[in-house]
């Protein structure tokens, strides 16, 4: 690992100022789990690391009935998984955060680092997208908020400018009629990262689906909203056949990646299976029976 300076700002504005000062030389350091690997492999060689480790304000998790859930970007996955607030209001998020990676990484890696690094093979993006997350990003010249839909651009690419910091993730107050489902799939049970995951949010009105949000993650360069399937499911009362049709459409609509963990065809098939299962589950159908 090359040498670098390690700075520890005490406030967010101090952090953004440091980033501005050092320009391209500088890089944000959160939990470090992704960054240290990248540094060791010499994929990058920043001269200055601006650590957000001392910014307690960025670690907080709060709930506000109007604003919803506010998660500081420096909250670690286990902070989220174990938070009473999250478990009460957004159990699906707690579950997701508590099930990703492994215990050590959950104690080290932050949600902000996870989102900003934008490794496709991760869990939070699809789940947060289904819940309509909104992100707060601060730069030297102030703050902006963007919907999560606009955040992930491509592999390892997000809609942030150099020098900006992701400070907070906001999830709107939960709508009691909307249920959100999240499921990750591992290629084999021994695998460490998901080959695909799927998040589904639906309002189940007497058997018919409304306000459907269906997002596939980990199998695509960036989490992908499956509009076509959403449209297909909207207003429909879901039967086993509908779930199967939605699954086929999802497999068709997605833009899969192909790598050592699985090629395009495999990823489509996994997403087909996940879609059928989650849609069936959302409609209280048993997905385990066929033929």
């Amino acid at each position: 690992m090359r040498d670098f300076h390690y700075l520890e700002p005490r406030t967010v504005s101090e952090a953004t100022a440091m980033l501005a000062d050092h320009g391209e030389e500088a890089c944000v350091f959160a939990g470090g789990t992704a960054l240290i690997l990248a540094l060791r492999q010499r994929m990058m060689a920043p001269g200055v690391l601006v650590s957000l480790g001392q910014l307690e304000e960025m670690r907080a998790i709060r709930f506000d009935p109007k604003e919803g859930l506010l998660i500081g970007a420096m909250a670690r996955h286990n902070d989220i998984a174990r938070s009473k607030i999250v478990r009460q209001h957004y159990p699906v998020v707690a579950e997701m955060a508590g099930g990703l990676a492994n215990p050590q990484v959950r104690n080290q890696a932050t949600i902000g680092g996870n989102l900003c690094y934008a490794d496709p093979s991760t869990d939070p993006p699809a789940c947060l997208l289904a819940l309509g997350a909104e992100l707060t990003i601060k730069g030297q010249h102030g703050a902006r908020r963007i919907p999560m839909d606009e955040f992930n651009v491509d592999y390892f690419t997000v809609a942030m400018e150099p020098g900006e910091i992701l400070t907070q993730i906001r999830l709107p107050p939960p709508d009691q009629e909307v249920t959100t489902f999240y499921r990750r799939h591992l290629r084999t049970p021994a695998e460490h990262r998901p080959v695909a995951n799927l998040a589904l949010a639906v309002r189940n009105r007497g058997g018919a689906f409304e306000d459907v949000r269906l997002i596939v993650g980990a199998a695509t360069p960036a989490p992908q909203l499956l509009d076509g399937v959403q449209d297909y499911l909207s207003g429909r009362s879901v039967t086993a056949e509908v779930a199967a049709e939605a699954a086929d459409r999802a497999a068709e609509e997605m833009f899969p990646i192909s790598d050592g963990r699985g090629d395009e065809g495999f990823r489509r098939q996994v997403v087909r299976a996940l879609t059928r299962r989650l849609v069936a589950e959302a409609a209280n159908l048993d997905w385990k029976e066929t033929e």
């Binding site: 690992m1 090359r2 040498d3 670098f4 300076h5 390690y6 470090g32 789990t33 240290i36 690997l37 540094l39 060791r40 690391l49 650590s51 480790g53 286990n78 990676a101 492994n102 215990p103 050590q104 990484v105 104690n107 080290q108 460490h192």
Partner: protein
Amino acid sequence: MMAKNRISLEINGEAVEADVRPNRLLSDFLRDDLALTGTKRGCETGVCGACSVLVDGDVVKSCLSLAIQMNGCSLTTVEGLACDGAPSPLQKSFMECGGLQCGYCTPGFLMAASDLLARTSRPDVATIRKNLSGNLCRCTGYQGIVDAILDASEKMHGT
């Protein structure tokens, strides 16, 4: 070469002051600078868990941490588990239940198990296995390790 930074931390109950280069990995700092070689390097990519230590009670991988991040923290390494040089109940259970063979993975599993048992006094088998997913062992097939943790939880917290 970059200047070194002074860090103060506590390791296994003792105050430590050290000058480290910012790019010093915690695992290297422990092993090479402090001669705490119980912490192992097995992959240095965050997968095998052989380098696990506790930071403020949380199990983390020291190969994915910088020493400099530890300023002000309290660390426990495998060397800190023993009671007056004798094996702790958890270490004893690992010895007696076949929780170790070659022993290379053992420090890491002990740290993961310590974190688990501090949070959940009587974990069930599924919980134990889930909480070991960040550690690899090639010798035991995990059975002895799971048995050891069950045994320790029983001995430490009663039935």
